[in-house]
Symmetry: C2
Subunit: 400 residues, 2 copies
Amino acid sequence: MSDHLFSKRTRRVPKSFIRDILKVAGKPDVISFAGGLPHPGLFPVREIKDAFMTLMEERGSESMQYGPSEGFSPLREWVCDRYRKRAGLDISPDNVLITTGSQQALDLVGKVFLDEDDFVAMERPGYLGAIQAFSFYSDAIIQVPLKGDGPDMEILEETLREKQPKIFYAIPNFQNPSGQSYNLEKRKHLADLCATYGTIMVEDDPYGELRFAGADLPPVTSFMKSPSILLGTLSKIAAPGLRVGWIVGEEAMLDRLIIAKQAADLHTSTITQQLAWQYLATNNIEDHIETIRLAYGRQRDCMITMIRRYFPPEVSFTQPEGGMFLWVTLPDGWSSAELFELAINEKVAFVPGAPFYVDGGGLNTMRLNFSNADEADIEEGIMRLGRCIEKYVGGGRPTE
Amino acid sequence: MSDHLFSKRTRRVPKSFIRDILKVAGKPDVISFAGGLPHPGLFPVREIKDAFMTLMEERGSESMQYGPSEGFSPLREWVCDRYRKRAGLDISPDNVLITTGSQQALDLVGKVFLDEDDFVAMERPGYLGAIQAFSFYSDAIIQVPLKGDGPDMEILEETLREKQPKIFYAIPNFQNPSGQSYNLEKRKHLADLCATYGTIMVEDDPYGELRFAGADLPPVTSFMKSPSILLGTLSKIAAPGLRVGWIVGEEAMLDRLIIAKQAADLHTSTITQQLAWQYLATNNIEDHIETIRLAYGRQRDCMITMIRRYFPPEVSFTQPEGGMFLWVTLPDGWSSAELFELAINEKVAFVPGAPFYVDGGGLNTMRLNFSNADEADIEEGIMRLGRCIEKYVGGGRPTE
């Protein structure tokens, strides 16, 4: 079938490279650090089952009916209670729109704010799901380098001043893919810059509650003096299969986002919204999050210990204080895509870094996920990866 | 906040008029024929509860994890088995993409096929959810009048020839809002015309299984010799709260639609997909559909009887053989919006027809939903509406 039948935006968006990688990585005998999956052993299966029973008894057919596009009211109430308590944000349920996972939030933000010639600024490396979502709406994504404690603020200011991007998209806590977090000063500075240059801050915080070292920092949103959007999700603290996320923003924005939401899927599943709320209302989510934190902290420690043992010293890596990912930088001139080929033969997988760059960079980088593998697998997998790096170097690859 | 912050497409799409109507109509003392809701008394609550128990025992954490963008394989298999059996369509699971309700299918079709200057053709009056979804992508929706047994084929051919629309969107069975169905000859003719003029047929069939009179007709898709898309949903035969629908199409289209789906919400809820499949695998859906058919048939009959009794003869209406809606045409010059104001004072609601027209027409039309009201409410509600019409006429409104 001829390509001209498709829209221009569709022809612009590349086939997902990651989909192919995940297919290979998903084979049962492969130890995979490739995906971005939470550990399934930590899903609250029994609690969700009990919550569903209660839901059917108490709401029954109501949970199977169409619902409002903005979401199930008690769940919106829960979201804003939580931000009030955790971050002191002064919001009401009218500031909350429930989305089908936070991926949908990215799509709606793109749809409502971006014209094709609008610049979008984001981190370099940047979250692939955001690159994909925004690519459908804008042909002009620019990336601002991360420096270990947040963006390079000089380049960021220059970008905002010169390009006047409509939005700046960022994951300030344990960023995907780099694992980096923004320090307090950069959070405040970023809020100021967005106000100065009229850029909408889109703060994505899927991992903020998964901190296993250091102290919590306030969201950038709490320092904003100009329009901004905050995204959250239950995917990492409860279960991604629910597909329940949210957008927090001022009502003038929400009004438009709700219309886009209605056109996109009418509303998020009534069943999963009410199920999530029932689960949250009858269980102590703090205890559950603590369990996840401890487990992921141990897994990260294990991965770092193994990397130190099996990777050569010229390979550097981040040491995230939370989240699910660790970012590895190979020496200049090495190719993580070539290393991936060796790795898959050794039955271990990761995601080469290139797709996280919109400018063809990052060829020597890779992302390792530590949330979805048990410690025994992490030990074995990193050992295998170390062997692959040895082979790669031994094969006469450039080392400087 | 200033309007220029929003994308052009957002500024183009009007605030949903229906949302405001449904808010008024949703008050507990109002008898509402306004929404498009299935009857909640017919939701399979016990069966869904049992299916969830089985799901948690057999799949547990798998149902809470991320899943493939194309959907849960056994559910895709079920969809294509059903089309093979019901309509003799020769499709495989590779032709099926699971969507978050069929509203999302409309959004994805718009995203993947429509550029801003592409014409979209659809029925007049047309489904509001499609007008909304496509308006975000195209600035050029054209409507082809319905004539009681399908479109006006002359105007349709002229439209396809002159405007070369990228897609023709239609609901050939018990259309929303008109309740009309296409006859066999028009189905075949439509398939030929799309092939001749290179227009993609988008056949939406949410109500096809809800036939309570007449004989089933094959989908337009079964006659197609050129690229086409068929949309379906569980919303009307199981429960809309699941948000489970699907797109059937050739693989070259599905490839692109899957990328758009991934960017839109990664995938439809694993929980609701697996729950729907578990329910379908362990229950006789035919028996359940038969129960719905009988109930809606009785409700339609009741509404028609009451309309004959309480509406003046100059008011005409459709007599649908299935589905959920009946379409009322008031004499020329009457305003259904003005009648709505009288009706809401009498605690009865409907949807004025204007939003189903993109050209400002339909001011004397209205949609009545008969699926969501019991017979006693239908009797009382239509009686009240009849009173409102009397008042309207008595108030010196034009009657010719």
